[in-house]
Amino acid sequence: MEARLFTADMKLAEVIHIDYQLLLLLPRFGMNLGFGDKTVREWCDKSGVSCRLFLMICNVYNCGQYLPGEEEIEEIDVDQLIAYLKRSHLYYLDNRLAAIEQKLNDIGETCPVEHRQILNRFFEGYKNEVISHFEYEERTVFPYILDVTVGSRPKDYRIEVFKENHSNIDDKLNDLKNIIMKYLQGSARGEEKINLLFDIFSLEEDLSKHSLIEDKILVPFVLKLEQRYDKE
């Protein structure tokens, strides 16, 4: 195992130097920059963030093999986890998808009308897919989880349903990569196309981490709770 796990006593700056992608986590947790030489624990405490949860998510991001332990998962702050996931959703839509859409529009201006139309239509389709994926989580899955956490369990839903249908929304993103890279001809806006590709690659990576968090932390947490109710 090449990547080592992050710990609460590491300096936060050191953690970010090891994996700068973790910067993305800070705003989602409502944590600011300017942490000086504070450790992860100190900065989490100061920001009112569960250090356990923050580290768990950092480790899921950074280490592909990392699987949080069962007892550890049972004790996570699920309200904070859900708040984190919701803020991530917002960030993807308002920030990342919006940026990609903007660049795609700019590039489309140099294309024949038909090509522009179909590209826009394609992206619109992808965006709607992402939106409905997020909406399903926020309207059905998260409320269910919060219900389960406080002890009332609606009979008509199980996290298993989510687990099995937690489909990839990244097929189309991958398609878009190939469309732009391999099939969108013309020399105009070459630089912008490259920037766009960088945006797509990095969004894809971040989204895959996002679903890892759901699969490795959220789902096991709920399964555990459900099992407990089943026994009662």
Partner: protein, 202 residues
């Protein structure tokens, strides 16, 4: 085994670190093998594995989602010359095992494992179809256009008097060659390549 001077890249997909580390050690005793990645689940790393283009993937079949009955070739669309080896130390449905080119048993020694890997690599590379280009054949183009127009497999099969199975094979080839999976993505491809006009897909 003709290419003994070659270096073969191996990817191990195995959730147990104890086992994957031991396996890596045994495999790398042989100079011709190099374990380029150890991965706990293929789910979130399919892309990565596809990019590594390994010669061999050793998978613990219990990580493959049996419920969805996914075939390995559907998961690793990019890997046409990769040998798939199952690593077995618990009960696995025979149907799942059938997809693999060879099976490593937990009691195999290094020598035996190396032998199995080399045999599987040779078997996979046997048909010399290096001439294959990534251009779509005319038949594939027809299927692509029909898909972009919203036709389903069964309709396409009837249109061209071919079996649904053949349509599916065409679709797999189209996906492999273009790198585009979704129907809407293929529609974009068809229009960018002037195979159809946007009015055809309204």
């Amino acid at each position: 085994m003709t290419k003994s001077s070659r270096h073969y890249r191996v990817v191990i997909v195995e959730p147990s670190i104890i086992i994957s580390t031991g396996l890596k050690y045994l495999i790398e005793l042989k100079k011709e093998f190099e374990v380029s990645a150890i991965i706990a689940d293929y789910y979130h790393y399919t892309e990565k594995i596809n990019h590594l283009l390994p010669d061999v993937i050793i998978i613990n079949p219990s990580v493959v989602d049996v419920k969805k009955r996914q075939h390995l070739e559907e998961i690793f669309t990019e890997l046409k010359e990769t040998a798939f080896i199952a690593l077995i130390y618990q009960y696995i449905e025979p149907e799942v095992v059938k997809q693999f080119h060879a099976v490593i048993d937990i009691s195999d020694d290094g020598e035996r494992i190396a032998q199995k890997l080399l045999h599987a690599i040779d078997a996979v590379n046997a048909p010399p179809d290096a001439a294959e280009k990534n251009e779509l054949s005319d038949r594939e183009k027809e299927v692509l256009i029909a898909l972009a127009r919203g036709k389903i497999n069964k309709e396409i099969a009837e249109m061209y008097h071919i079996s649904v199975h053949t349509v599916i094979t065409h679709r797999k080839n189209i996906i492999r060659k273009t790198g585009i999976k979704s129907i809407s993505g293929l529609t974009v491809y068809a229009i960018l390549n002037n195979l159809i006009s946007i009015n055809d897909v309204e």
